[in-house]
């Protein structure tokens, strides 16, 4: 039993604990203790991983374990992590932990809420640790379906519509993915020893080039749907706007990263030839995501929609950077995943808390919140500054790395696109500052708002955890990029050669 399986076992135990819980107190205890254990395990994993790397272990994946599952079909339960997965696991653990506190007072059906949330997290952790295509795909789908009930039951607004749209679009993506995975598997080896193990498929490098050109779009679009790639992003604004706070946090913070992670781990890593051939198409699409998301965010009046479109823009930037396939840009992409995950989670947590008080998310109906709830407002400003890329916070580091790396490319087409994408930073500043100016400063719009209170302890705790992480990446960027750079290098070198 590998140490990695802990990340799947703890949530399963949590499910059992939640099932047996009788009252709110027990539910909270199980959720808090479980997610804290996850966080500790994730930190321990980072430490162990760095220790092993420092001791000179240069294997591509560490902590590998392999159990045969379906013998006849070559399906294994195979796990292993490289620097990127480790970083993603830590990100997930932080956000789940913060999410538990953000949904401290969830109502109705708290028990079911946490059970679905934890089931979702099983999918997320499982996905990041798997190196077997089937297991990976299974966990991917496990992470998707709880969204339907989480949004449908605990959501707000046009929740039925959003939940159904989100589920069907993401499942549509996974249908493409399934075909892609089967295609990859049946061409995984030239000598008939078919395998589902990602590392072995990469080593065999046997997928014919013509087939790569078919399978690459299938898998890239399949994962790209979850990564909110234009034109498959339309589930994202509706879904995020309707979802309850913790679900928005987890979804924008972690689930959308599954898309980006899958894109490079499966699509790009396994099909380097097609990546080179076809990346221009997806570069255009993701470029549109970056732009279109940012512009749309400027005209929205609902706080959650603003943030959802901003997520489309930022996640578009992740895929955009990945498609530059050089080490610097890809490292930037992963850092952007981390940074965006944390700050979006922070944003959604704060929006949820503000909405819980004002009962409106329309920025036209709010104003002067800085005086009324200073703690939440200050946190909102911090999240905003991280989002628009202020040095010292995570956004700056990520975007800087991305644009430096992307411009490094000798290709004129890519350089032009990079310059265009750079302008999105300016637009980001426009919509962030617009919101900050409108709702935090200025006159109080609704005199009932004057009676509102500031954050209580569990809300403060949730936001502070996230702010520490955001600032952590901003202040110690090297520490993070060292963790992921080596792993990225393996992949980018595979594509370039």
């Amino acid at each position: 039993m590998s140490i990695l399986s802990i990340f799947v076992i703890i949530p399963i135990l949590m499910l059992g604990g939640l099932f047996l819980s009788k009252n709110m107190k027990q539910i909270r205890t199980v959720a808090t203790v479980g997610s804290a254990l996850q966080l500790i395990a994730a930190i321990a994993l980072v430490v162990l991983f760095c220790g092993k790397r420092a001791a000179g272990d240069t294997a591509e994946m560490l902590f590998m374990a392999d159990h045969v599952w379906f013998q006849a079909l070559n399906i294994h339960y195979a796990v292993g992590v490289d620097g990127v997965s480790v970083a993603m696991i830590l990100l997930s653990a932080i956000i789940v932990f913060a999410g538990v506190f953000a949904s401290w007072k969830i109502d109705p059906l708290p028990k079911e809420f946490f059970m679905w949330l934890i089931l979702l997290s099983i999918g997320v952790y499982g996905f990041f640790i798997s190196i077997d295509l089937f297991t990976m795909f299974m966990f991917y789908e496990v992470a998707l379906i709880p969204m339907y009930l989480l949004i449908g039951i605990w959501g707000s607004g046009k929740k039925y519509y959003s939940a159904m749209k989100l589920t069907l679009m993401l499942m549509g993506g996974s249908a493409l993915l399934l075909l892609g995975i089967l295609g990859i598997y049946f061409n995984s080896s030239a000598d008939g020893n078919l395998t589902m193990n990602i590392l072995e498929i990469a080593k065999n490098n046997a997928i014919p080039h013509t087939l790569q050109n078919i399978l690459f779009p299938l898998t890239f679009v399949g994962f790209g749907v979850l990564g909110a790639m234009f034109p498959f992003h339309t589930w994202s604004p509706d879904g995020h706007a309707s979802a309850p706070t913790a679900v928005s946090m987890l979804h924008a913070g972690v689930l959308m990263k599954l898309g980006g992670y899958g894109c490079f781990r499966v699509a790009m890593y396994l099909m380097p030839y097609a990546t080179q051939e076809l990346s221009w198409i997806f570069l255009i699409l993701t470029g549109i995501s970056v732009f279109y998301g940012a512009y749309s965010a400027c005209v929205q009046t609902d706080l959650k929609y603003i943030n959802a479109y901003s997520s489309v823009s930022h996640c578009g930037l992740v895929l955009f950077a990945l498609l530059m396939w050089n080490t610097t840009a890809m490292t930037g992409a992963i850092m952007q995943m981390l940074s965006h995950g944390l700050m979006t989670a922070l944003f959604f947590a704060l929006i949820g808390m503000i909405y819980g008080r004002t009962h409106t998310r329309d920025i036209r109906e709010m104003g002067g919140l800085m005086k009324i709830m200073p703690f939440l407002s200050v946190c909102y400003v911090i999240a905003g500054l991280a989002s628009l890329g202020l040095p010292g916070l995570s956004g700056f580091v990520a975007e800087m790395t991305i644009f430096v790396g992307a411009f490094d490319h000798a290709d004129t087409f890519r350089r032009v696109f990079t310059i265009l994408a750079c302008t999105s930073i300016v637009i980001t500043a426009v919509y962030i500052l617009r919101v900050v100016g409108k709702i935090l400063y200025g006159p109080v719009q609704d005199k009932h708002h004057l009676e509102l209170t500031d954050a209580v302890w569990y809300e403060k705790f949730s936001t502070i955890v996230l702010i520490i992480a955001v600032a952590g990446i901003g202040i110690f960027p090297l520490w993070v990029s060292d963790l992921i750079r080596e792993s990225i290098k393996v992949i980018s070198e595979r594509i370039i050669q």
Binding site: F70, A72, L73, I75, E141, L149, M164
Partner: protein, 476 residues
């Protein structure tokens, strides 16, 4: 033929023994002791299933090659038995009703006779035996559909079922007579050896497929399904939708792969290709609009039949294994759905999906069972349906034919449509609220047992890999 050889028919002989024992028991039991009939039926069938699994039945070819037992057919019979046991437990509360009390013996004996017919159909190596098995399965089925004869729906359903059954049998017989005319034999092996493609034989194969299409309710031969499913008693519907379908699919696969496996392959594979696409798509599209849960499940089962047929298309070991595995998972998922629908129908008389609004608030356990069934039918991991769908796609792509990729792609797109309507049921139960939801239902122990076993099966059948391995080892 020696006695020892005769024991190769152990499956049929033991089932016949069960039927006779039950018949004697029902005839001589008093009104009071008769109430143990359900439990007797279940335990006898369970013992017979254990005999099939561990009784060491040898592979055999009997009656001059008309009948064969293989490990594969044995596993198929075990799977059908498990399904029948589940249906019998589900039926136990139904046959306690006053109207059904006097007919409960008939219910059990008739059901087992249809099962016997399916056994013969699955073991047949000659189209005559195949046809006899098919008819043995069909005619008692009509009586079962009409068993609640005081209800008009039941009458109508039985009449429709009978007409369609007879018509499809006639079509099939016509096809078989052409084959006899062209080849001069009805043995699978002889047909396989001396089949030549002529207009006559093409016609024959198509007619045979059409006849089986009726049994399996493949589009365009599906028109009877929804009415019969709706009209028949829920317990009979669940038997009809899983066991009949599973047996017919397996028997069709054997016939196509052995008798029409070489020269005739090109004929039926193209026909089936189109039929599968139509079946999956049309079944799905019609299911979206259904309000009555039984009609809904009827259309869903039509589209599921299309997925099952993908295993036949693959024409390899993986295909056969995946087909059997799919049937097993489908048995558990569909019986779970019917058990919940039946429990709600019995308690409140409500059958519309709209009536399920807010069910989770009042009946959480039933709702969760229904949700598991829906997720499994839709193919959502970690439930068994995901694995069975994956394996059936796997087997189709394993052939390496480009057209199969297209077929799988269409099937995959259809899983999205199907997810939509399965989620509609989940939505009604969990998301919506109702002013007058169905009152809390106190189900009896039989319903609870079925729901528990099927729920457990839905969760474990996929995750526990040795079930697939067991079927695979029997097929290879």
């Amino acid at each position: 033929m020696s006695y020892a050889e005769f024991l190769g028919m152990g499956a049929e002989l033991s089932l016949m023994a069960v039927i006779i024992l039950l018949f004697i028991y029902d005839t001589f039991a008093s009104q009071k002791s008769g109430k143990y009939l359900p439990i007797t039926a279940v335990s006898l069938l369970a013992i017979q299933t254990l005999y099939l699994a561990f009784g060491g039945i040898q592979e055999a070819l009997l009656f001059g090659g008309m009948y064969s037992t293989t490990t594969m057919s044995n596993v198929a019979k075990i799977i059908l038995n498990i399904g029948t046991i589940l249906v019998f437990i589900q039926a136990a509360s139904w046959v306690k009703d006053d109207d059904m009390k006097i007919r409960r013996g008939e219910y059990y004996v008739l059901t087992l006779i249809t099962l016997l017919g399916m056994y013969f159909m699955m073991s047949a190596q000659n189209f005559l035996l195949f046809f006899i098995g098919l008819e043995t399965a069909s005619l008692p089925m009509t009586a079962l559909v009409a068993i609640e004869k005081y209800k008009e729906n039941s009458y109508e359903a039985a009449a429709k079922y009978l007409f369609f059954a007879v018509f499809s049998s006639a079509l099939m017989l016509l096809g078989l007579s052409y084959i006899y005319g062209a080849v001069g034999s009805l043995y699978y092996s002889t047909i396989a050896a001396s089949f030549t493609v002529t207009p006559l034989t093409i016609m024959a194969v198509v007619l045979f497929l059409a006849g089986m299409g009726f049994k399996l309710s493949l589009v365009p031969f599906h028109l009877w399904t929804a009415d019969v499913y709706q009209g028949a008693p829920t317990v009979v519907t669940s038997y009809l939708s899983v066991i009949s379908k599973g047996a017919a699919a397996y028997a069709l696969m054997i016939a196509l792969m052995t008798a029409f496996g070489q020269e005739a392959l090109g004929i039926w594979i193209n026909v089936l290709y189109i039929v599968i696409i139509l079946t999956i798509t049309i079944g799905n599209l019609f299911a979206i609009r259904q309000q009555n849960i039984k009609r809904f499940l009827a259309f869903s089962s039509i589209s599921q039949a299309g997925y099952i047929m993908l295993g036949v298309m693959a024409c390899n070991d993986f295909g056969a294994t995946s087909l059997l595995y799919y049937v097993l998972v489908y048995i558990f998922s569909n019986i779970a759905a019917f058990a919940v629908a039946g429990a709600i129908e019995r308690a409140s008389g409500k059958l519309n999906i709209n009536d399920y609004d807010g069910l989770y608030k009042t009946n959480p356990k039933l709702s969760v069972a229904m949700m598991l069934a829906m997720f499994s039918l839709a193919g959502i991991p970690p439930f068994a349906g995901f694995f069975s769908k994956f394996f059936i796609f796997y087997s189709a792509i394993e052939t390496g034919i480009g057209a199969m990729y297209v077929l799988v792609f269409i099937a995959l797109l259809n899983t999205i449509i199907s997810l939509y309507y399965y989620l509609l049921v989940v939505k009604a139960m969990f998301l919506k609220e109702s002013e007058n939801p169905i009152a809390p239902i106190k189900s009896d122990c039989y319903t609870k047992t079925v729901i528990f076993i099927t729920g457990l099966g839905i969760v474990l059948l996929g995750l526990v890999s040795w079930i697939y391995d067991y079927i695979f080892s029997a097929v290879v």
